[in-house]
C-alpha cells in the first residue's frame, strides 16, 4: 500500500507536467484545428531561457558552461534572477515565441491545407530542437527546483512521501486552470477566443478580431507549455531530448482525454503519468521502456473511444 501510494504520487507529479503541455496543445487544437508538434520544443527553448536567466556565468550544468549567461550578466539587470522570477521570464519568452509563431508563420498559411500547416509545425519541431542543441549543446543541465526540494521536504501520508515539489506542481497547475478559466469566462478576449473556437467565420463576421485573439491564444498556450519545461526541474534534468519525450506523453494525454477538451487534457495527463509510474512495478515493464504504457493507453483509447474520454465526435458534410 505504501509503495502503491508512493508510485501514485510520483506518477501524479509527472502527470501534472504532461497535463500542462497537453493543455497547451488542446488550446491550439480547439481554436485552429491544428496539432502543434512543436509545442514541446517551444517549451524547451523557454526552459533553457529560464535557465540562462537564473544562472550566474559558469555555474549551470555539470561543469559545462551555459551559453548566454555571460551575455545575460552584461545586459540583463539584476542577473542572475531568483528561480521564480526566471521561470516567469521563461514563460514570458515562451509567450512571445508563441505569438511570433502565430503572427509570422501560421497566419500567412491561413486557408492553406492542414497538411502544409502540420508540415510547418514539424519543421519547427526539427528547427527548434536543432537550435537548442546548437546553442546549448547536448549536455544534461540540472534545473533548480522552484519548491523546497531538500531530502526532508515531504509530507508523510500512509508512509508514502508526498514531496513538496509535487504539491507545488499541483498548486501551479491549479492556479493555471483557475486563471485560464477566469480569462476565458470573464474577459473580453476570452469571450472572443470562445467565439472563434465555436464558429470562426461567424465570429469574424460579427467583428471579433480573429487574428489578434489567436495571437493572444497562441501566446497563452505557449506560456502554459513553457511552465511544463520549467517545472520538471528538480526531478528530471533538462537536455535537448527531454521535451520530445514529454511531448509524446502530452500528445498521448490529449488523445486519451479528447483533443478538443481542456478537462480531457488534464485527466489524460494524470492517466498517462499514473500508467507510466505504475506499469513498471506491477506489470514488470522495465523503466527504460516507460514510453510503452502511455503508448498502449493511447492505442487503447483510440480503439475504445476514438475521440477521447471528453472529446466531441466531429460531423462532416460533403
Amino acid at each position: 500500500m505504501e509503495l502503491f501510494l508512493q508510485r501514485c504520487f510520483d506518477g501524479m507529479f509527472n502527470g501534472a507536467i504532461y497535463a500542462s503541455l497537453a493543455l497547451a496543445i488542446v488550446m491550439i487544437y480547439r481554436s485552429t484545428g491544428l496539432l502543434n508538434f512543436a509545442q514541446g520544443e517551444m517549451a524547451m527553448m523557454s526552459g533553457y531561457v529560464a535557465l540562462v536567466l537564473l544562472s550566474a556565468p559558469g555555474s549551470a550544468g555539470f561543469g559545462f558552461s551555459l551559453n548566454g549567461t555571460e551575455w545575460a550578466q552584461e545586459w540583463v539587470p539584476f542577473h542572475p534572477w531568483p528561480v521564480w522570477v526566471a521561470i516567469l521570464g521563461g514563460v514570458v519568452f515562451g509567450g512571445l515565441l508563441g505569438a511570433a509563431v502565430e503572427r509570422f508563420i501560421m497566419r500567412p498559411l491561413e486557408g492553406k491545407s492542414t497538411l502544409s500547416q502540420v508540415n510547418v509545425t514539424i519543421g519547427m519541431l526539427i528547427l527548434l530542437n536543432g537550435l537548442t542543441l546548437w546553442i546549448w549543446g547536448p549536455f544534461a543541465r540540472s534545473f533548480p527546483s522552484p519548491f523546497p526540494n531538500e531530502i526532508n521536504d515531504f509530507v508523510s501520508i500512509g508512509g508514502a512521501r508526498l514531496r513538496h515539489t509535487t504539491i507545488g506542481v499541483w498548486i501551479v497547475l491549479l492556479v493555471v486552470i483557475v486563471g485560464l478559466g477566469f480569462l476565458l469566462q470573464n474577459t473580453k478576449t476570452g469571450l472572443a477566443f470562445r467565439a472563434i473556437t465555436s464558429n470562426r467565420d461567424g465570429a469574424a463576421l460579427v467583428g471579433v478580431p480573429v487574428g489578434r485573439t489567436l495571437t493572444i491564444g497562441w501566446a497563452i498556450a505557449a506560456g502554459i507549455g513553457a511552465l511544463s519545461a520549467a517545472l520538471v526541474g528538480g526531478t528530471i534534468v533538462l537536455e535537448p531530448l527531454t521535451m520530445i519525450k514529454i511531448l509524446i506523453y502530452a500528445l498521448a494525454a490529449a488523445t486519451i482525454g479528447g483533443l478538443d477538451s481542456p478537462l480531457g487534457a488534464i485527466v489524460g495527463g494524470f492517466i498517462v503519468g499514473l500508467a507510466q509510474a505504475l506499469a513498471p512495478g506491477y506489470l514488470g515493464i522495465p523503466t527504460e521502456l516507460s514510453l510503452l504504457p502511455p503508448l498502449a493507453a493511447m492505442v487503447l483509447a483510440l480503439v475504445l473511444r476514438p475521440h477521447g474520454l471528453f472529446g466531441t465526435v466531429p460531423v462532416s458534410r460533403v
Partner: protein
C-alpha cells in the same frame, strides 16, 4: 476524308504524354547519367555510401506515397526501416537466401506497419502522425531490450557473404558495383510498382481520400481498407530500404533508427515534393546536399536547423517541393 475521322490533336498522344513537363526527357537523361557515372569513377567505399543513400529513396518514396498521395502523415518510417533491417539480419541467420529473406523481411515490415497503424486509421485526422511518432521514439529503447533479435546495446553484425556477384558476370573484383546495381534495380522495381499503383483506379481512389475523405466514402471507396493497404505498402517500401541497408553495411544497431531518422525521412519527402514520384529522389538529394553544403560553407554546422528551416521555407516558397519547381502542371500535387 470526313471531319469525323480526323483525330483531335490533343488525343493523338497517350494521355500521360500530355502531362509531361518539358523537363521530362532532359530529366531522364540526367538521371541516367547520375546513375551510371558513380560506379565508373567512385572508390568502393564512396560507392557503398552512395548505395546506402540510394536505398533511402525507398523510405522517402514510402512516406511520399502515404502523405503525398493519400494524405496520411507518418512520422515513424524509420521504425519500418529498422524492422526491415533487423528482420533481414535474423532471417539470414536462419540460412535463407538473400532474395527470400529480403522478400519476407519486406512483407514483415508491411505487416508491422499495418498493426501499428490500424488503431489510428479508425479515426479521421492526425492520429496516425501521433501514434507513429510515439513508436518512432519508443523503437530504439525497445530494440535495445530485444537483445537476441537486435544485438542489444552494441548492435549486431549481418552475414552478407552471399551478397556478391555471380561468378559468370566476371565482376569478382567489383563487388561494390554489383551491390550498387542491385540497389538501383530494387529501387527501380519499387518505383515501377508505385507508378502503376498511382496510375490505376486505386491511385485515383487514394487521391480522392487525400482531397476529401467524406466524398471518397460517398463514391463507394472503402476508405479504411484502402488507407490500411497503402500504409502496409508504404511500410514495406521502408522495410526494403532497411533490408538493403543491412546487407550493404553489415552492422545494424538500434541507434541507427532513432526518431530523428523518421523526422528526416518525412522532411525529405516534403522537401522533395509530395505527390510526385520524382519528389522522393529530390528529397534524398536534399538529404545528401544539406550536409555537403554545411561542410562546404561551414556557416551553420547543424543539419537539423537547416532541415527544419528548409521545411518551413518550402511550405511558403514552393508548396509542391523541389519537384514542383519543374512542373508546369501541378494538378497532381496536393492542394497547398
Amino acid at each position: 476524308m470526313t471531319a469525323l475521322q480526323k483525330v483531335p490533336a490533343d488525343l493523338s498522344e497517350p494521355p500521360d504524354a500530355q502531362e509531361r513537363s518539358r523537363w521530362f526527357w532532359p530529366g531522364w537523361m540526367l538521371l541516367a547519367l547520375v546513375i551510371v557515372i558513380p560506379p565508373l569513377i567512385a572508390e568502393p567505399l564512396d560507392l557503398n555510401k552512395l548505395s546506402r543513400l540510394v536505398v533511402l529513396v525507398l523510405a522517402v518514396l514510402g512516406v511520399n506515397l502515404l502523405t503525398g498521395y493519400t494524405g496520411l502523415i507518418s512520422l515513424g518510417h524509420g521504425v519500418f526501416v529498422g524492422v526491415g533491417a533487423f528482420t533481414m539480419a535474423n532471417l539470414i541467420d536462419q540460412g535463407m537466401s538473400l532474395f527470400v529473406a529480403g522478400f519476407l523481411a519486406t512483407v514483415f515490415s508491411g505487416i508491422i506497419g499495418l498493426v501499428l497503424g490500424l488503431p489510428a486509421l479508425r479515426v479521421r485526422g492526425l492520429y496516425l502522425a501521433l501514434i507513429t511518432f510515439g513508436f518512432a521514439l519508443a523503437f530504439p529503447p525497445f530494440a535495445r531490450r530485444l537483445g537476441s533479435w537486435t544485438g542489444g546495446v552494441t548492435g549486431r553484425t549481418v552475414v552478407n557473404d552471399a551478397f556478391v556477384p555471380p561468378s559468370f558476370l566476371g565482376l569478382d573484383d567489383h563487388v561494390h558495383v554489383w551491390r550498387y546495381g542491385c540497389c538501383i534495380a530494387v529501387v527501380a522495381l519499387w518505383f515501377l510498382i508505385a507508378r502503376n499503383l498511382i496510375d490505376s483506379r486505386i491511385g485515383r481512389a487514394m487521391r480522392t481520400i487525400r482531397d476529401d475523405e467524406a466524398a471518397a466514402a460517398t463514391f463507394g471507396i472503402n476508405v479504411r481498407a484502402l488507407k490500411a493497404g497503402v500504409l502496409a505498402i508504404s511500410a514495406a517500401m521502408a522495410g526494403t530500404a532497411g533490408v538493403l541497408q543491412a546487407i550493404l553495411n553489415p552492422y545494424v544497431s538500434h541507434g541507427d533508427f532513432d526518431a530523428f531518422l523518421s523526422l528526416r525521412l518525412y522532411a525529405a519527402a516534403v522537401l522533395g515534393g509530395l505527390g510526385t514520384l520524382v519528389g522522393a529522389i529530390f528529397g534524398v538529394v536534399a538529404l545528401i546536399a544539406v550536409p555537403a553544403f554545411n561542410g562546404a560553407v561551414g556557416l551553420i554546422d547543424n543539419e537539423a536547423v537547416v532541415f527544419g528551416a528548409g521545411l518551413i521555407l518550402v511550405t511558403f516558397v514552393a508548396p509542391a517541393g523541389i519537384a514542383g519547381l519543374f512542373h508546369r502542371k501541378s494538378g497532381n500535387t496536393p492542394a497547398a
